[in-house]
């Protein structure tokens, strides 16, 4: 499992390739957490296009990262999910729990629209 990061002011894009299982779970967890701490961005877009395998341990790690990022006030959005991985997420009931988008662009628009929503909320509250 490898992750390639691209960092923008509002979000990090994490392009994941390879297999997400017990042998790579700890690496996934620490790479994502490290990058968020290092860059200080609240949101992560996780591009799964080149994820070739996932099992229940891998699904558990995705759910775990989702919860952590949410608790830090950010979004954790999966994009470009291969059909095989979609059916694993469905079997685990995670399509209803995790946030997903078709493409990185869709995920970024989602993050930006929430930012404006939050701002409006903030200015309404002032």
């Amino acid at each position: 499992m490898q992750i390639e990061f691209h960092v923008a002011p509002l979000f990090a894009i994490a392009r994941v390739s390879g297999e997400l299982d017990l042998s790579s779970a700890e690496k996934f967890r620490s790479l994502i957490d490290q990058e968020l701490r290092r860059s200080g961005v609240p949101n992560v877009v996780v591009n799964l296009r080149n994820l070739s395998f996932i099992d229940s341990t891998g699904l558990g790690v995705l759910l775990g990262r989702h919860k952590t990022v949410k608790s830090w006030g950010g979004k954790f959005i999966l994009t470009d999910i291969p059909p095989k991985i979609v059916s694993m997420l469905e079997m685990a009931g995670l399509m209803r729990v995790l946030e997903t988008a078709r493409t990185e662009g869709d995920a970024i628009r989602l993050i930006e629209s929430c930012r404006y929503a939050n701002r409006e909320e903030a200015s309404t509250n002032e």
């Binding site: 297999e19 299982d21 017990l22 042998s23 779970a25 700890e26 395998f53 099992d55 229940s56 341990t57 699904l59 558990g60 790690v61 759910l63 775990g64 095989k84 694993m88 079997m91 685990a92």
Partner: protein, 135 residues
């Protein structure tokens, strides 16, 4: 076609991948579809991950994976000599787990993806998971 492959290794997490690719390659010589082989990969991953994660808390121990040809498909047996499972019925329930950040879906996936799943376990002496996938 009475072929078999036995794989023995300690409870180190990277060996989950080694066992999984070995099983997938073994299966690829039978008349399985690509999606059958993906299912075998998940099932092996689940059974071996369980042995690595649960069988030997805080100690080293050995795990054996036996891949066997049968007339109607392949049989995969994953064996550990660890702490065993107290209540197998409970362990098989979807969502039951004794480990944080785990899904409790290991046995559920093995059952969904293979044609047969047999679990034998003696608390204190180990667990054997035997699975059959029909070609």
């Amino acid at each position: 076609m009475s072929n078999h492959v036995l794989i023995r290794f300690p409870n180190v997490s990277s060996n989950v991948s080694v066992a999984r690719v070995a099983a997938a390659t073994f299966a690829s010589f039978r008349e399985f579809s690509i999606s059958d082989i993906e299912e075998v990969k998940v099932a092996v991953s689940e059974a071996v991950s369980n042995a690595v994660l649960h069988a030997y808390p805080d100690s080293q121990g050995m795990i054996e994976v036996l891949l066997e040809n049968r007339n109607d498909g392949i049989q995969i047996t994953v064996k550990d000599f660890g702490k065993g499972i107290e209540d197998i019925d409970k362990a098989r329930q979807p969502g039951f787990t004794t480990m944080p950040e785990h899904m409790g879906l290991g046995f559920t996936f093995m059952e969904s993806f293979m044609d047969e799943l047999h679990i034998e376990s003696q608390p204190g002496s180990g667990t054997t998971v035997r699975m059959v996938k029909k070609a």
